[in-house]
């Protein structure tokens, strides 16, 4: 199959607020007031969890269909922990981003435990957003004035 390229164009409305456009859609990213923002939307690291939740939902349903069980729906609870020091420029041995991301998936299904164990293992291997977190993904930044 051919590679697919996804694109987003964004601009700063303020030092903390960004307007991002993906095809016809607009997303507002901002920081809460306690992180010096104007609280007009989720913040960047919350959007990482939002991306992961959406990808897991697609994978949950796709793999349930492959394993031939009925999935009536899923709830997904996500939490990520980070130390803000590196981001703020305070000398630290901690990394800038999430140290770990914990995800609880609550499926509405009659499938048994063994099936669900197999299900989650396949989801883990094939979820694109998980893959980009778990494994190194090159990010190339260029500046053009």
């Amino acid at each position: 199959m051919a590679d697919i390229t996804f694109r987003v164009k964004a601009y700063s409305e303020s030092p903390t607020k960004t307007i991002a456009k993906a095809r016809g859609f607009e997303a507002i990213i901002d920081e809460p007031e306690e992180l010096n923002g104007t609280n007009d939307g989720p913040n960047p690291v919350e959007y990482t969890l939002i991306a992961l939740s959406g990808c897991l939902n697609v994978m949950c349903h796709l793999v349930a269909k492959e394993l031939n069980f009925t999935l009536r729906g899923v709830k997904i609870n996500l939490a990520g922990v980070l130390d803000p020091e590196k981001h703020l420029g305070i000398p630290t041995s901690q990394r800038a981003g999430y140290k770990r991301v914990d995800v609880e998936i609550i499926p509405d299904t009659d499938a048994d435990t063994a099936t669900l164990e197999q299900w989650i293992k396949i989801i883990e291997q094939r979820c694109p957003v998980s893959d980009n977190l778990v494994n190194p993904t090159p990010v190339h930044l260029t500046v053009n004035k």
Copy 2:
């Protein structure tokens, strides 16, 4: 400084559409029709780029302030390339997520090239969302019925 935990709660509205809540905000994630969705929002991998754009904006302004130059604003163009085979369960040696992410940052500033080179290097090192992509981030999935 104390660690900060960010949380998102999500549920499936359909096999492709997810409603995700971060504090008081709601984000809609869906797939376009050509990827079997109902096209009600950006898709999961587009949200990864949205997260990155918001984080880079914050970092661009924070680091400009540290380097003592005026940044009137930034435009950020992002593109990610992936092969959909692994995600779809087709045997492949390709990874599931983006193979690479390319980001063009267009600053509105009078700063010189040497300053901007230093600026982008610091941004790269300290941006939390970039860090979670470039370096391995553990993701722990658990299933609770």
